[in-house]
């Protein structure tokens, strides 16, 4: 058998076990065809219950008004915008994996990109809820769209970062969805062609859009994926940049800094990867996909976590330094008192954030810990908590003491309906994710097949034999001819 491609033996295999093309289909599509497990039902019902609680919280907020939340005179944005930024940030890892790592030709992305992209889409759906319901009169939400209207027409303010957000988030959602779905077409076709029941054949047939696997279609599909990746890469950077503009273009101490865009983007990727770890560590175990989401994959993601965590740490120290160096008394007060002074009302949240985001990820410099599932899982939760607190610190500590000290006394803590809304988005997220895990191929089957012969464990073993026999002969016969 001649080899089509050759990959260095230094690289860990990306697909473990003795696999062939059919086995990959069986392993990944198989769970879709089985009845969901008891664990799945329990998880799904808990998610739906949370979602219902969220719906009720929103009902209260819409019926009685924003007063249902404990926002006050100085804190006009509290948990809601914190949650918005947090969820948007979570989404970023999915696009990074599916787009940026595709451009960088990182083979390991194939194992995790489908689930990570699904996470992106669900996270953006959750994020979108917060600004929409925060509008109060939500039935007028469509006023944010620039459409010809009977009020003049009075247009939206294109100079406002809040409107940029509308465009950024909706574009991000649309493009992510298209990218994800175009990748799903061939895999839906695989499910359709294996289907035993008429109903399944019809449903997946509709979902697969009549995909046949024609060479010409694949050629176009490859071109489409590459260009969509190229478009998504600046897009994902722009989205959190624009989210950070919501703060950075204002004149509030602690927000008015130029470091915000890169700092927000790094933080977003950091928290997103943590969420991918949380989800995939569970998924690989429950669905028996350890051969496809290997320890190597988890280690690679932990490397991204330690890198982005350190970037975020540098950003924290930089903004602290610049606040002092800039000698603006308000800016320095916000940092030295409202945040870094642990004895002020919210000082604890700053140090909690510092610990979770800067100190704890440093554990991942150790290879042993990077490859430890339990440590990774706990770390992913800690990072997610830390990144939530980052947004909380930025928002609340900057606004709870405004320029009028007489309004400083009120301590903001969320009402049950604010918390309920947040829990409700968890419900939405996990309801979607459970449905995805049951009915969708959670790993990109066709992409795994495409890398099998270069990165599959059994194929790598065969290459080793050939290599050993005669390195020079191997090079001339196999490598040169392959190209």
């Amino acid at each position: 058998m001649s080899l089509l491609k050759y990959e260095s033996q230094q690289r860990e295999p990306l697909v473990d076990g003795n696999k062939d093309y059919h086995q990959i289909t069986e392993d990944i599509i198989g769970p879709i065809e089985m009845k969901p497990s008891r664990l799945w039902y329990i998880g799904f019902y808990i998610s739906v219950a949370l979602l219902m609680f969220g719906v009720y919280s929103i009902y209260r907020e819409v019926t009685y008004g924003i007063g249902q939340w404990n926002l006050n005179k100085t804190i006009g944005w509290g948990w809601d915008i914190t949650n918005f930024v947090w969820w948007v940030g979570i989404g970023h890892a999915g696009t990074l994996i599916s787009a940026i790592l595709l451009l960088f030709r990182q083979g390991w992305r194939t194992g995790v990109n489908r689930a990570a992209e699904a996470m992106t889409i669900f996270a953006v759906m959750c994020a979108g809820q917060f600004p929409i319901w925060h509008m109060g009169r939500v039935w007028m939400a469509f006023f944010v769209l620039p459409y010809p209207n009977s009020r003049g027409p009075l247009w939206v303010n294109f100079n406002s970062p809040l409107l940029w957000d509308v465009f950024a988030i909706s574009t991000y959602f649309t493009v992510s969805l298209l990218f994800w779905y175009s990748g799903l077409l061939p895999d839906f076709a695989t499910v359709r062609d294996r289907a035993k029941t008429k109903f399944r054949k019809m449903m997946y047939g509709v979902a697969a859009f009549g995909w046949t696997g024609s060479t010409k279609h694949w050629q176009r599909h490859e071109s489409l994926s590459l260009v969509l990746a190229g478009l998504s890469t600046p897009l994902v950077l722009s989205v959190h940049t624009i989210v950070s503009f919501d703060f950075a273009t204002s004149v509030i101490p602690g927000w008015h800094t130029t470091i915000f865009p890169p700092y927000f983007v790094a933080g977003a990727i950091f928290s997103g990867f943590a969420m991918v770890q949380t989800l995939l560590i569970v998924v690989r175990k429950v669905m028996n996909l350890q051969d496809y989401i290997t320890l190597g994959h988890i280690e690679a993601m932990n490397k991204v976590i330690v890198l982005t965590g350190s970037i975020v740490g540098c950003a924290y120290l930089t903004e602290l330094f610049i606040a002092w160096y800039g000698q603006n008394p308000y800016e320095w007060y916000a940092f030295s008192q409202n945040r870094a002074n642990i004895f002020t009302p919210y000082g604890w949240s700053y140090w909690l954030m510092m610990f979770c985001n800067v100190v704890s990820p440093q554990l991942f410099w150790s290879r042993k810990l990077r490859r430890n599932i339990t440590v990774t899982f706990f770390m992913s939760i800690i990072v997610n908590i830390g990144m939530w607190y980052e947004r909380f610190v930025i928002i609340v500590t900057s606004v709870y003491r405004d320029f009028l000290p007489s309004s400083w006394s009120t301590y903001y803590s969320p009402s049950i309906w604010e918390i309920g809304f947040y829990l409700g988005t968890f419900g939405l997220f996990f309801t979607c994710f459970f449905l995805f895990a049951k009915y969708f191929p959670v790993i990109a089957v066709s992409e795994i097949k495409a890398i099998l012969k270069t990165s599959g464990e059994n194929y790598k073993a065969k290459m080793t034999d050939i290599e050993k026999s005669d390195a020079e002969k191997f090079y001339i016969e196999k490598v040169e001819h392959a190209h």
């Binding site: 303010n157 649309t174 359709r192």
Partner: protein, 196 residues
């Protein structure tokens, strides 16, 4: 292309390393490959079949430019002509502040346009029904379909395919819908490509 009943000789391969020489030999022998159906993108197969490059990315560029101009002209018209607003005494033509929306619309137009074009060109839509030559073409087989003409001797073609390494060979009659045979024109003949 008008519909009709067409006959195909179909050979299924289980290894892409066998498929490549087979494609070459079939084309060399003067047969015209209707299509090869694969479970994943096999790199270089399009070249081996003599298909031309896709220009989908060019379409994407054009859609992107459309998005850029749409955003810029619309915002300019709104803020300088239709309803100029004084926002903090800043200029009405506030180009730097419009960059984010311009960028987002560029990406949006390019992505949506490209996906729709892709679906149109490949005839992909929710309720489209197509003839599938082999159910395992989306699983683990590489399925080559060769269109028969009046002159084709399908018995000899079948044995020819078997000799090139096909695991399964059969003859199928397919009703050609409007999607079949679309690529006839863009596939070069082997001898034209090699110049003899």
């Amino acid at each position: 292309m008008a519909g009709g009943i067409k006959k195909f000789v179909v050979g299924s391969f289980d290894d892409e390393a066998v498929l490549f020489p087979a494609v070459k030999n079939v084309r060399k022998a003067g047969y015209k490959i209707h299509d090869v159906y694969t479970p994943f993108p096999v790199h270089g197969l399009d070249h081996a079949m003599g298909l031309r490059e896709t220009s989908l990315h060019t379409a994407g560029f054009i859609y992107g430019v459309t998005g850029t101009t749409t955003a810029l002209t619309f915002m300019t018209w709104v803020f300088t002509k239709d309803w100029p607003l004084n926002i903090g005494g800043k200029p009405n033509f506030a180009l730097p502040a419009w960059i984010p929306i311009t960028f987002e619309l560029t990406v949006l137009f390019a992505a949506v346009g490209m996906v729709l074009t892709f679906c149109y060109l490949c005839n992909l839509a929710p309720f489209v029904k197509k003839h599938h030559f082999h159910p395992r073409a989306t699983d683990d087989l590489f399925v080559m379909a060769i269109e028969c003409t009046d002159k084709t001797d399908d018995a000899s073609l079948q044995s020819f395919l078997q000799n090139t390494g096909a695991k399964e060979v059969n003859v199928q009659i397919a009703e050609t819908g409007w999607w079949i045979g679309r690529y006839d024109k863009e596939q070069k003949l082997y001898r034209e490509e090699k110049g003899y």
